[in-house]
Amino acid sequence: MANSYYDPADLRKFGDITEWNEELGTKFFDYYGKVFEEGALTAREKSLIALAVSHTEQCPYCIDAYTKDSLQRGITKEQMMEAIHVGAAIKSGATLVHGVMMMNKVNKLDG
């Protein structure tokens, strides 16, 4: 095993997952490729969504890939940071909104 769980060079080997299950791997990459094509959303918009989600998922490979992808699409660092804040806001909001659940429980048990 490598000394680290994450090796940047492994990102280039992502396609190798197909070797151990060709059918599912191929289906996944076909789907993945299709998702990122221009559609009702532009490929540029999709790249920014992917960048934000990469951060909320805290996936180093995805952050590496979609930071580079954003740069390639001419997206500025200010736009990238705003996208990440959107992800962070949802992530923190999703935590905090559960506070209502806590409040409901407190009110029921000890109201």
């Binding site: 940047p8 390639q72 001419g74």
Partner: protein, 354 residues
């Protein structure tokens, strides 16, 4: 006033000013170990080795390496400290070739070609040859650099010159990072002046195209999407119009190679280029339809080979002995830098090739 970022590699006596040293780096390391295939082997997989020219379409003439800018990624290593300039004698030899060539495009480049003292004379003479597409690659800021250049837009218009200009991004920060502080504002002003006399307007025969190349160690995105973004931003922010955007990949030579190595991006960048290798782009790489002529009259397969000192593999090596038929019967010289022209949609001085 443009604040220059640095001096040329030549002036700094950097080891990468030496073309052989660059070629050594490009053939050693990950390519010598077999981690990545050499370009020769890669194109052989699809039967493209040896790479051979097709019909000659473009004569690209480098009028000299002197420039008013010192851009971070310049493959020419151009700058104010470079003194290599084409003489009128060599220009006369070029004119003889221009009058008789089968090529439909003449492409003048540099450095800043306008800084050659014989530039205007040469353009006047060359325009008489009636070549179909007469390109001058202008860095834009030269138009605002000194009073003596202020009338360049009118001069271009008079000779129906097709202006192709570099603009790495539609935001000030990214452009100035690559090309020097103040470059963006001057470029905007120059583009507005070109627009004012008819350049770049929809339907205008006065062609104005922009060149985009990435500001860092990444490949250019989709050319059509980038063009849309550039058009929208430049029009909304500055009222600027232009015809096409050419997305060009930075080739790993000269100052960009220096940057890649210093920033520890060299290996990843070469991986990106090789991963994005597109056999369809090999069919149309510019060395198959272009001859590049240096300031001192030597002939090359492309501008990049010129900077690497790789003269054409032909009996005819100099403009003084130019013979198009003999030249077209040659093998194109390749090395690992060529991956830059075959990545993704490909890259050439006219942008994507696929």
């Amino acid at each position: 006033m443009i604040k220059l970022k640095l001096q040329s590699l030549h002036k700094r006596e950097n080891e990468l000013a030496n073309a052989n040293r660059q070629l050594e780096i490009l053939s050693n390391g990950i390519f010598k170990s077999g981690e990545l295939p050499k370009f020769k082997d890669k194109i052989a997989e699809t039967g493209h080795f040896p790479l051979r020219p097709k019909k000659l379409e473009i004569l690209q003439i480098n009028l000299g390496y002197m420039c008013n800018q010192v851009c971070e990624h310049c493959h020419v290593d151009a700058g104010p400290d470079r003194k290599e300039i084409m003489t009128r004698e060599t220009m006369m030899q070029c004119l003889e070739v221009i009058r008789n060539t089968g090529a439909h495009t003449l492409d003048l480049t540099g450095g800043a070609p306008e800084m050659n003292p014989e530039f205007r004379w040469f353009v006047e003479e060359a325009s008489k040859a009636g070549i179909e597409d007469f390109i001058v690659r202008s860095n834009l800021t030269i138009i605002r650099a000194n009073k003596k250049y202020y009338d360049l837009p009118d001069f271009f218009k008079k000779h129906n010159v097709h202006v192709v200009s570099s603009m790495p991004h539609y935001t000030r920060g990214k452009t100035d990072k690559q090309r020097g502080e103040g470059v963006f504002d001057k470029s905007v002003k120059a583009l507005q002046e070109l627009n004012a006399i008819g350049y770049g307007l929809p339907g205008s025969s006065l062609r104005l195209d922009l060149v985009y190349n990435p500001t860092g160690a990444f490949l250019p995105g989709n050319q059509d999407s980038l063009e849309k973004d550039f058009k929208k931003a430049l029009s909304e922010d500055f009222g600027i119009q232009f015809h096409s955007l050419f997305a060009i990949t930075n080739l790993p030579i000269s100052r960009f190679l220096d940057y890649l190595i210093a920033s520890e991006n060299y290996e990843d960048y070469m991986h990106s280029l090789v991963d994005a290798y597109n056999p369809a782009a090999v069919e149309n790489v510019m060395c198959t339809n272009t001859i590049s002529i240096s300031w001192d009259g030597w002939l090359y397969d492309c501008d990049f080979n010129q900077m690497l000192g790789l003269k054409v593999d032909s009996k005819v090596k100099h403009i003084s002995e130019y013979n198009e038929d003999l030249l077209n019967d040659r093998n194109i010289i390749i090395s690992q830098h060529c991956y830059g022209c075959t990545a993704g949609a490909g890259s050439s001085c006219q942008g994507k090739v696929v």
